[in-house]
């Protein structure tokens, strides 16, 4: 070892640099001072690098090694310069060669590590780049915060109660709508179990709904009666659904609860009113039915015994007495007609047939068959649009056509009666029109003609008991439609009927 060191520092065979060539004092010292200053600086640079590496322990993989190698390379360079200065006095050219060889080795090694590290170094983000990224992230965060704030504002302003709860069933958030609806302030209810909003018997129902929500179902419009803080009941419609965190793990359940107390109350009132109306309608029907039945008995007595009187005694009575009998018989016969009409009218609702799909075309043809005689006699003509299929009582539809068509012919003017049966499709209903060229009516009577026993003309000119239109109106009413008349004196009359299009089960799936 010592022999090797001795060999390295052996100076034999070389003169000191001062004595090799014509060194001026100035040039020699320029070299010496420069080399020593370079050496000093090259010793300091690795220290700075070492410090840097100590501080930046986050540097990715090849960089610390590259830095260390670079430090070693600079140290070697520094040593070669120091030796250059020493050689002015001691010609240690052998040691200088060894150090240069070491420097060469370290510098190539550094290069070998540096080359593959260059692309990685290039991939490292520049501070500007990083800054831009930070800015973008900040903007993103701000947007998210704004969006969250918007949502929060919506939740806060909602009239509906918006409540969330954790998986433990304890309430996590409680919006002002919930406060108004249930009366609990947020600090009274947050962390409490949500089933305190629900009366005991309803808790199973809520628990089941929450469980279904946890399984991923959305419970829509669950109608129930819940409890306010003061113990009063509140009718609600609740939508319940679960939410998850970004990894898709179930996080909790939210409820949007709407107060439907007033709607429920209106519904109940409407239902009560409908039931009441139905009851009174049924009573009225019953009344009309019984009255017309029981009225027949005494009337029959009058008719029957007038008949017997006429049969047995007409030849023995004078003309005047027979006239009296005629009037009595006529009056009684008309009374019977009225009672029969009343009976028919009272049966439209209660004793009508059942509903089904009815081809109005068939109903119209049926009516035409029954009216054949009337058409033939009057020479009336009729043209008809294609008629639709509706949900109705077939017999009653035929009855309506019969009444309206018979009316159109009965109230004819000078001209030969001509009737148009028109049909127009609307979004939710059909409109039928029976248009005639008859005597028409004064528009102010448009309502009156549909009333029972109301006649606009004396009996001697137009027969009938004034019930046809009343029955038509009642039938159309039973079918959820409307009937009305338009026209003018001498301008003919048009009867309009609407029939709802809904509830054709085979054709329409919407209810």
């Amino acid at each position: 070892m010592n022999a090797v060191l001795y060999g390295v520092f052996d100076t034999s065979g070389f003169p000191a640099r001062w004595h090799c060539g014509n060194w001026s004092e100035r040039l020699g010292w320029l070299h010496i001072v420069s080399d020593i200053m370079i050496f000093g600086a090259y010793m300091a640079i690795p220290i700075a690098l070492g410090f840097f590496i100590q501080q930046r322990r986050d540097l990715p993989k090849p960089f610390p090694v590259v830095f260390w190698l670079f430090g070693a390379f600079i140290v070697c360079c520094g040593l070669t310069h120091a030796i250059e200065a020493i050689i002015f006095w001691e010609p240690i050219y052998r040691a200088a060669g060894v150090v240069k060889a070491a420097t060469a080795a370290v510098s190539w090694t550094t290069l070998a590590f540096l080359v593959p590290a260059v692309p990685k170094a290039l991939a490292l983000r520049s501070p500007q780049h990083l800054e831009r990224q930070v800015e973008q992230a900040t903007a993103e965060l701000r947007r998210e915060r704004d969006a969250a704030a918007h949502l929060a504002r919506i939740v806060e302003s909602s009239q509906d109660a918006i409540i969330s709860q954790g998986l433990d069933g304890r309430i996590r958030s409680w919006n002002p709508g919930a406060f108004r609806m249930f009366g609990y302030a947020p600090d009274e209810i947050v962390d409490q179990r949500s089933d305190r909003l629900v009366p005991g018997p309803r808790r199973t129902e809520l628990a089941e709904a929450l469980e279904r929500a946890r399984q991923g179902h959305v419970i829509n419009a669950l109608e129930s009666d819940w409890l306010r803080k003061d113990g009063s009941a509140i009718a609600v419609s609740a939508t319940i659904f679960s939410f998850s965190n970004e990894r898709g793990e179930l996080n909790g359940v939210a409820m949007i609860v709407r107060d439907i107390t007033s709607r429920k109350r209106e519904q109940d009132a409407l239902q009560a009113k409908t039931a009441e109306l139905q009851r009174s309608n049924e009573e009225l029907e019953q009344f009309a039915y019984i009255a017309s039945h029981d009225l027949q008995e005494p009337l029959r007595m009058v008719v029957n015994f007038m008949d017997l009187l006429k049969r047995g005694y007409a030849p023995n009575l004078d003309e005047l007495a027979n006239k009296y009998i005629e009037f009595a018989v006529d009056g009684a016969a008309r009374m019977k007609q009225l009672i029969d009409a009343l009976l028919t009218y009272s049966r439209v609702d209660g004793r009508g047939g059942s509903f089904g799909e009815v081809s109005l075309q068939d109903a119209y043809r049926g009516a035409m068959d029954d009216l054949r005689h009337l058409f033939g006699e009057s020479g009336a003509s009729i043209e008809s649009d294609e008629l639709p299929v509706v949900w109705a009582d077939p017999r009653q539809m035929q009855q309506v056509f019969q009444n309206l068509l018979a009316n159109a012919i009965k109230f004819r003017g000078e001209a030969v009666p001509h009737i148009r049966l028109e049909c127009e499709e609307h979004a939710a209903h059909w409109e039928l029109r029976v248009r005639d060229n008859g005597i028409g009516f004064e528009p102010r009577h448009a309502e009156r003609i549909f009333q029972m026993f109301q006649r606009l003309h004396e009996r001697s000119r137009y027969s009938g008991n004034g019930i046809g239109l009343a029955i038509a109106k009642r039938i159309i009413g039973r079918h959820g439609g409307r009937i009305w008349a338009t026209g003018g004196v001498g301008k003919g009359a048009t009867f309009h009927i609407t029939l709802p299009k809904h509830a054709l089960p085979q054709r329409d799936s919407t209810v």
Binding site: Q296, E297, R300, M301, D307, R311
Partner: protein, 136 residues
């Protein structure tokens, strides 16, 4: 429906309305039938009569006109009680309806075994024609 009287027994009419009973009786008198006229104003009286027929104390009626619309025992109940006895299974019973417009009473009466129907008529000719058609 043509029904011929089965025997010489009485022609019975059950109706709570004395006026109807009297009117139909007058029509019956004017017809060609000569059987006895036997009116009842209550279903229960008619059934009492039938129990006497059963034990041979009274002759079997030839025809019954039964008003459906009666207070107390209704015509349908009388019809049901009568048909429940095998002896009266063949007895011609015509149900009398107040008006012809109610199909339900007809259906029920057919179900209980009515032979036919009469609507309470407003003139004598109809009844007379009805009775005349029953002559043997």
């Amino acid at each position: 429906m043509t029904v011929q009287l089965a025997n010489d027994g009485p022609v019975v009419m059950v109706d709570d309305n004395a006026g109807d009973l009297f009117f139909v009786q007058r029509c019956y008198m004017a017809s060609k039938l000569e059987n006895t006229w036997l009116p009842f104003t209550r279903g229960i009286d008619f059934l009492a009569h039938l129990s006497r027929v059963k034990v041979g104390e009274a002759p079997m009626p030839a025809l019954v006109l039964l008003d459906l619309n009666m207070p107390g025992m209704t015509g349908l109940e009388v019809l049901q009680a009568t048909r429940a006895e095998p002896e009266f299974a063949a007895l011609p019973i015509f149900c009398v309806l107040t008006s012809s417009t109610d199909p339900r009473d007809r259906e029920l009466a057919v179900g209980y075994g009515a032979t036919g129907f009469r609507t309470k008529a407003s003139n004598a000719d109809e009844y007379i024609a009805f009775f005349d058609a029953l002559t043997r």
